[in-house]
């Protein structure tokens, strides 16, 4: 880690840092109170950076090395209930080991922010990226966001605290960073001044839900069929409100930091005049954009839509956008064995989002880049060609595995 990043100045500075380091810096800027760590690659780099910040007196927090991911997430869950701003994270099977804790965290309306260094699930072992870890919690009330560069990682971590801790939301948020491609890749990152961060991010106030002797409440009693459904509905409503809050927060982010992300939910690249588009999440955006620039020189008008927020899912907006194209190809860096049309998670969800729309182009799906395998420019060209065929009315298989050995 470069010393420049460790010393967070009052004024905005620029530093060459990795995605993990960017999130560690965000923890410092957000003045997080309790952080728990447990080793698993590739996310654990964030905790190495956090540990240095704590050791050097740059970050004043309780930094606890837990004895398992289950405890790691349970400790911060309870710390948050007692009023602390918390940070946690994991990767692959580590995230799955914490699954019980991940289940109760949104149900308890805990605004935890976590980083997932996306990693393939065992077995067999692989350190590389796959999105199944983070996606596994998609039904539970976690807000899920994917970023593709270190600057966006830092900014999104600040945004995540602001959204999660908004009293209208009070739901956890996981920031997905592709293992290696983002967790370990350096880029120049603008580090905002703490003054601006303080203007953007108010203190965490748990209000009447604070567990404290001055507010002697009973949290999570046995509700049974009498009340459980109403309580679930409240959590669902919070996720619905998150959609509006995210918009507000991005607007505020732009106002205070002078950096804009456009539509918070998804990024559009070269879509204006596109015939067809590809849709994907995370760092595969990089080879996809390179390939698009190449294809456009050959007259193929391909665009790209990079999903940021997967939960809440901007279904209507996405359907409206994708309805403009002759065909849409979905790239999944995940699998969902036995799912409809044997597609990946993203393809299934995008198709579901498109169904009520009047304009439903063909939507072939691709499974690509599993276990950290590179998504190459030729892979992207191949997928684009298939999508073009679909646009021309030649039926294509709804799921194809790309970049697979023959």
């Amino acid at each position: 880690m470069t010393q420049a990043a460790l010393e967070i100045k009052d004024a905005e500075t620029t530093a060459l840092i990795t995605g993990s380091e960017a999130i560690a810096v965000a923890c410092k800027l957000a003045d997080v109170d309790v952080i728990t760590a447990y080793p698993i690659r590739p996310y654990d780099t964030v905790m190495q950076y956090v540990a240095k910040l704590v050791a050097n007196g740059e970050l004043d927090c309780e930094y606890i090395v837990a004895e398992s991911e289950h405890s790691q997430f349970e400790i911060v869950k309870h710390a948050s209930a007692a009023g602390a701003r918390v940070f946690c994270g994991s990767s692959g099977v580590g995230w799955m080991y914490a699954f019980e804790a991940l289940t109760v965290t949104p149900a308890l309306r805990i605004p935890m922010v976590a980083m997932v260094g996306n990693r393939a699930l065992d077995d067999p072992g692989a350190f590389g990226v796959e999105h199944n870890d983070a996606l596994a919690v998609r039904d539970l009330g976690w807000q899920l966001v994917w970023v593709d560069n270190a600057q966006e990682a830092l900014d999104t971590a600040l945004i995540a605290y602001r959204v999660a801790e908004d009293r209208r939301v009070f739901l956890p948020c996981a920031i997905s960073c592709d293992g290696a491609f983002l967790t370990h890749s350096q880029a120049l990152v603008k580090i905002p001044s703490s003054e601006k961060v303080n203007a953007f991010l108010p203190r965490y106030d748990r209000g009447d839900l604070l567990l404290h002797p001055d507010n002697p409440i009973t949290v999570a009693p046995q509700a049974n069929e009498d009340w459980l459904m109403e309580i679930r509905r409240q959590t669902a409503a919070a996720m619905e409100r998150s959609y509006t809050v995210i918009r507000e927060v991005y607007r505020d982010f732009e106002r205070i930091f002078g950096r804009s992300y456009g539509n918070p939910f998804f990024e559009e690249y070269e879509t204006e005049d596109a015939d067809i588009v590809l849709v994907g999440m995370g760092t595969l955006s990089i080879p996809v954009k390179v390939a698009i620039r190449q294809m456009r020189k050959e007259g193929k008008k391909v665009g790209f839509v990079r999903m940021r927020w997967f939960r809440p899912f901007a279904a209507e907006e996405l359907a409206k956008s994708l309805g403009r194209f002759a065909a849409v190809g979905i790239i999944d860096r995940d699998f969902s064995l036995g799912a409809p049309y044997l597609s990946g998670v993203l393809a299934t969800e995008v198709r579901a989002a498109m169904y009520p729309s009047a304009k439903r182009p063909p939507i072939p799906g691709f499974i690509c880049g599993l276990g950290g395998r590179e998504v190459t420019v030729p892979d992207v060209v191949k997928m684009s060609d298939i999508v073009y065929e679909a646009a021309d009315g030649k039926a294509q298989p709804l799921t194809q595995w790309i970049g697979l050995r023959e």
């Binding site: 289950h70 405890s71 349970e74 309870h78």
Partner: protein, 342 residues
């Protein structure tokens, strides 16, 4: 004493001097739905009384969650939060860490607040062991983990746990035509194991609420000594042990007087037997036969003499051969074990 750890404010909780000196105020009151004669409910009540109003309680899944906190009729007057079955250690640690950080950073008034996480034997001695162990190694967080041991997974209909006594009939270990004894495992020695394994933990104790004043004073010491602490409470359970509820108090006494359940504290590394256990050890009270205790309970109704003899022999071994009777099960190298070389 020089210390490298950065500690939180600790409450001053002197021992209660006698039953008549107990405060009248209750912090665990009506509203619960435990069985008649449930000793674990009594433990909750006494624990809360001993800790007082400036306390946060975290409770693992189990009878003391399900039966105590029906929505809209909670029995807790002090703040209470559910934690997962294996999470008592993490709940205590996380809550304590939050208080510590917020108080140090000036985000919360700096004052002693007790943190107690309780768990059953299933949640503690089985599933939660790893988290409890981890918490006991963190010297800088004040918290108490109290394991109420009714000797089964009671809430789910009485299944055997690592803390169920040898041979007991549970719904997962029913006596049958081919096998009279389905459960051959000896009960885990939780407090002894935790005391031996966590040398910086300043207070670990066993207790039984049949001796309520002693039990409450264990809680007060555990909360005021500093750092993480652990109490293992043996709680007769009329449903799981299968006896008439009016016998609960007596059942706890019998567990102690027959030597099955030794009462001790390990304070700053020093072992102190207390109460009836101390009297037995000092020869002032004659240890009873386990038969008196076992045969009052339906869960041992299938025992034959040989089973009772085996049980008695194991309890005798604990008193006669353990390095520290009732606490540490190692044996020093003795002549009988290693006859002199010929």
């Amino acid at each position: 004493m020089a210390t490298l750890t950065d500690v939180q404010p600790i409450p001053k909780l002197d021992p209660f001097k006698g039953v008549k000196k107990l405060p009248l105020e209750e912090f665990f009151t009506s509203g619960h739905r435990t069985c008649q004669g449930c000793e674990s409910a009594l433990v909750m009540k006494m624990m809360a009384k001993a800790a007082g109003p400036r306390t946060i309680v975290l409770g693992s899944t189990g009878c003391m969650y399900v039966a105590n906190t029906t929505y809209y009729s909670t029995s807790w007057v002090i703040p209470w939060m559910h934690t997962q079955l294996g999470s008592s250690g993490s709940a205590a640690l996380g809550t304590s860490a939050a208080l510590k950080a917020l108080m140090r950073k000036g985000k919360m008034k700096n004052e002693p607040i007790n943190v107690i996480a309780f768990c059953g034997d299933g949640g503690g001695a089985d599933m939660g062991l790893s988290a409890i162990s981890a918490t006991l190694t963190h010297p800088d967080y004040n918290c108490l983990i109290l394991m109420y041991d009714n000797e089964s997974y009671a809430n789910t209909d009485i299944q055997l746990s690592g803390s169920t006594p040898y041979g007991a009939h549970t719904t997962f270990s029913p006596p049958g035509k081919m096998k009279r004894i389905m459960h051959h495992r000896w009960k885990k020695n939780m407090a002894g194991m935790l005391a031996a394994g966590h040398p910086t933990c300043r207070y670990i104790a066993t207790m039984c609420m049949s001796y309520a004043l002693q039990g409450m004073n264990c809680v007060r010491k555990a909360l005021s000594i500093g750092g993480p602490t652990f109490i293992h409470s043996l709680d007769p359970c009329p449903k799981g042990w299968d006896y008439d509820p009016y016998l609960s108090h007596e059942m706890g006494e019998l567990a102690v007087t027959t030597g099955v359940w030794p009462l001790y504290e390990v304070e700053e590394g020093v072992v102190k037997l207390y109460g009836k256990t101390k009297e037995i050890a000092e020869g002032r009270y004659k240890r009873g036969q386990v038969r008196e205790y076992l045969l009052k309970q339906g869960r041992f109704a299938h025992f034959k003499d040989e089973d009772i003899d085996y049980f008695q022999s194991k309890v005798d071994e604990m008193w006669e051969k353990w390095l520290i009777p009732g606490v540490i099960p190692f044996r020093k190298e003795v002549e009988a074990d290693s006859p002199a070389a010929r």
